[in-house]
């Protein structure tokens, strides 16, 4: 089983990683393996879950169980997307049993600090800024920290940690927020500061601009809120001993899993970083996620810089690199910790950006098209990536099924199918997935399920935007003089919730009239509760924001967390 391997003295959890301490220079310890053979029970579980999926698919597609065409079509379309993704992701998980670290890596890592006078590269206290050697040649590394209006405390923490990364490197603050305070902060901490005149190309443009000013052979990108570990370069740079490696990506881990939204969002990604991305190494289709990543400058030059025509520059740049035959590596080792989106607004924007990127690839650059120069494995993985967010739209279709039965007596399944049969097949799919999550992650978080069910308006908006070629415009945020309500970003969810609530009332009234409880009512009430808990989380957030805003106004000294809150929100 692949896990996120911690350094020996840190707990092995994605969530709640303690702040990285500078443990002082030590001899380079041998890293934990990034992948090894899966535990036999995981393989068994995956196989059983696969059988469950196939049985469920067989049950759904069996003509004898077909009900009225409208709800049946909705169910089939939604479940097909879910089943496709589930099958392929389990395949990817099983593929992730190989450690990307080979002999050359270990050799390079052992001699990273080696010089003629110190051939074994043994460190001594205070030697953290020693030059780095790769293949016996000195290398140069730039560390870029992209900022765009983040709070000063957040930037300070990141820059401080970036400066403290072991090995000689230059740290640059790339400020698209054009803040003089950030400039002063960079000067105070001793990092370089770069500000550009335009803001074209967003983050990718920012990085491209920095590449014209810097000269390092390799460059690292951190978002302003991702605090790197001191060993970042030690763990990633040795991979570049292979000339074909374009970038090494490390996971995004989060330290702020303090509420429903951040836990749901963080956990969703934990599965991705722990199981999916390592599996993609085998397909040579691990893609960049925009932060906590180290690039080879030559590779980026080869594809003409970071891709600037999309808000999802990270996936697109990866795609271009793969097309040019570059190799990419993901290691499931947490080397930087950041902030998960913890407000509805931040979550909505993040998911919208990611989903837009996925749909852009699906609709504008179909990975199956022969014009793409990708291997078959890469095509498959990019297809999975590109279509992943379609599963986000699926809940909308499934939410519509119980109301169809309640109002119109249209049933997705044949009346002759009894509850037990249905339950058996249904459990074969969904319970096995939950079981798999439980086994692999050690827990199952209802927040993830809730967020996944409540996010369909975001993915639908992304899909529509991509289809009609519209750029999503948000009202300007970052206005700290106003409190924003999360409800600005969840009007569709509110309306659907009200609809489901009223439908539940009608359903209960109907059941009382008929004299029996129906499955449709049970489902509809469940869906209402799930959406309701999302609304509840938003209400809680709204109250918290108001409180902290009031406190802030009183003190005029925003605490870091409050600053993030009030900046991420608007009346």
């Amino acid at each position: 089983m692949t896990t996120l391997h911690p350094r020996p003295d840190e707990p092995a959890i994605l969530q709640g990683i303690p702040p990285h301490r500078d443990r002082g220079p030590t001899a380079l310890v041998r890293p934990a393996r990034a992948g090894h053979d899966h535990a036999p029970s995981l393989v068994l579980l995956v196989v059983v879950a696969t059988i469950g999926i196939l049985a469920y698919a067989n049950f759904l597609l069996n003509p004898a169980s077909r009900g009225d065409w409208l709800p049946y079509t909705l169910v089939i379309v939604a479940e097909s997307m879910l089943i496709f993704q589930a099958l392929l992701s389990m395949w990817t998980i099983l593929s992730g049993s190989q450690d990307p670290r080979d002999f050359a890596f270990h050799q390079a890592r052992a001699t990273l600090f080696a010089t003629r006078s110190n051939p074994r590269g043994i460190g001594s206290p205070g030697s953290d800024r020693r030059p780095l050697y790769l293949n016996g040649q000195p290398t140069s590394v730039d560390v870029f920290i992209t900022t765009y209006g983040e709070g000063l405390d957040v930037i300070r923490e990141t820059v401080t940690a970036a400066l403290a990364i072991r090995g000689a490197h230059l740290t640059w603050v790339l400020d698209d927020g054009r803040s003089d305070e950030v400039r002063d902060l960079a000067a105070e901490l001793g990092s370089r500061y770069l500000r550009r005149l335009s803001s074209g190309g967003a983050k990718a443009g920012n990085v491209n601009h920095a590449l014209t000013a810097s000269t390092g052979e390799y460059f690292v990108i951190f978002d302003a809120d991702f605090v790197p570990a001191p060993d970042f370069l030690v763990e990633t740079l040795p991979f570049f001993v292979d000339d074909k490696v374009a970038f090494v990506q490390t996971p995004q881990a989060y330290s702020n899993l303090h509420n429903v939204i951040s836990r749901g969002a963080g956990y969703m990604q934990a599965v991705f970083y722990r199981f999916i991305q390592p599996g993609r190494n085998r397909f040579n289709a691990a893609f960049c996620v925009g932060t906590n990543v180290i690039f080879r400058r030559d590779a980026i030059n080869d594809v003409g810089g970071m891709y600037t025509d999309s808000k999802s520059e990270d996936v697109w740049t990866s795609l271009k690199l793969h097309e040019r035959g570059w190799k990419t590596i993901f290691i499931p080792l947490v080397l930087a910790t950041g902030h998960a989106p913890d407000t509805v607004e931040a979550y909505t924007k993040q998911q919208l950006r990611w989903a837009t990127g996925g749909f852009e690839i699906l609709l504008n650059s179909n990975p199956l098209s022969p014009r793409r120069r990708l291997t078959f494995d890469q095509r498959l993985q990019y297809l999975v990536t590109a279509s992943f967010y379609l599963t986000g739209v699926a809940p909308l279709l499934l939410l519509a099924v119980p109301p169809l039965e309640i109002y119109f007596d249209l049933r997705p399944m044949n009346l002759s199918i009894n509850l037990a049969t249905w339950l058996l097949y249904y459990a074969g799919f969904y319970l096995m997935q939950v079981g798999l999550a439980f086994y692999t992650m050690g827990s199952f978080r209802w927040e993830t399920l809730m967020l996944a069910a409540a996010s369909f308006p975001i993915y639908l908006a992304a899909l529509v935007n991509v289809v009609i070629g519209k750029e999503q415009q948000w009202r300007a945020t970052g206005n700290k003089s106003q409190v924003t309500s999360p409800f600005n970003f969840m009007i569709p969810q509110l309306l659907v919730f009200v609809f489901l609530l009223l439908t539940s009332v009608v359903a209960v009234w109907r059941d009382i009239g008929i004299g029996t409880a129906t499955l449709a009512t049970a489902w509809n009430v469940t869906n209402t509760v799930i959406l309701g808990s999302f609304i509840g989380a938003a209400l809680h957030e709204s109250r918290q924001t108001r409180l902290s805003f009031a406190a802030e106004r009183g003190r005029r000294h925003p605490r870091p967390v409050d600053a993030r809150h009030s900046e991420a929100v608007t009346a």
């Binding site: 009202r475 509110l494 009223l502 439908t503 009608v506 608007t570």
Partner: protein
């Protein structure tokens, strides 16, 4: 929230409430209606038979011909009849047939209608009591519809209840419940209803209104629900505006 978003939310909420209201009325409407399991157009049938065995010497009508009362349909040469006439046992004129002295029986239509089900041809022998053809009485078309109802719903059937008849070409005719027969199978009331309508004129709708045509019938039950008034009001409104 911003005022624009508040307004959006408000408009959206009004929309959702309206949607649920319409859906609920539809749902309630459906609750007070029941669709037929099977229904077809039927007609009152008048068989044309002979009291004397003999040879059919003339067939004067074709299948589907419209006939009026008294119109000759068949002539039958019957030796038995000839003998009976000779002995003065039968009168020469009758509502269903006329008899000539030489023993030729002329079968006539007893009512106005349409000829169906001719069972015999010129030259064939017919037995006494045999039916030679059937006349569907003109203007007697009705719909026979089977409904499977729960006992509660059966109790909600009212005399003269409105029934919507949908022809195979989706044309709609409204009718009313005439009589009901019921048998109970597995606790379900299998109801056979006879529906009459002034719209069921023979040969209408390009010949679709004819005996045997399959139709769909929707029977309105007495609405006992709390939304009965609302539903009726809504229905009335739709009718007023011409939908």
């Amino acid at each position: 929230m911003t005022w624009v978003n508040r307004l959006k939310l408000l408009v959206g909420l009004v929309g959702v409430f309206a949607l649920v209201a319409v859906l609920t009325v539809i749902f309630n409407q459906r609750q007070s209606q029941v669709a037929s399991a099977s229904a077809s157009i039927q007609a009152a049938e008048y068989p044309v038979g002979t009291d004397y065995g003999g040879i059919v010497i003339e067939r004067l009508v074709e299948e589907g011909d419209a006939v009026s009362a008294g119109q000759p349909m068949f002539t039958v040469q019957s030796p038995t009849l000839q003998a009976d006439v000779a002995e003065g046992l039968v009168s020469l004129e009758n509502v269903a047939y006329s008899v000539s002295p030489d023993g030729v029986l002329t079968l006539t239509a007893s009512i106005d209608g349409t000829v169906t089900g001719i069972t015999t041809e010129r030259g064939s022998f017919v037995q006494a009591g045999q039916v030679l053809a059937t006349i569907n009485r003109g203007g007697s078309l009705y719909v026979s519809a089977q409904f499977v109802l729960t006992s509660t719903d059966y109790a909600r059937i009212e005399e003269g209840a409105p029934v919507q008849i949908v022809l195979p070409n989706q044309a709609r005719i409204s009718g009313n419940l005439d009589t009901v027969e019921v048998t109970t199978v597995d606790g379900q009331a299998e109801t056979t209803a006879r529906v009459i309508s002034t719209g069921l004129a023979d040969g209408e709708f390009n010949g679709l209104v004819a005996p045997g045509t399959p139709v769909a019938a929707t029977l309105s039950l007495r609405d006992d629900g709390p939304l009965a008034g609302v539903g009726d009001g809504f229905h009335g409104f739709l009718q007023t505006i011409g939908l």
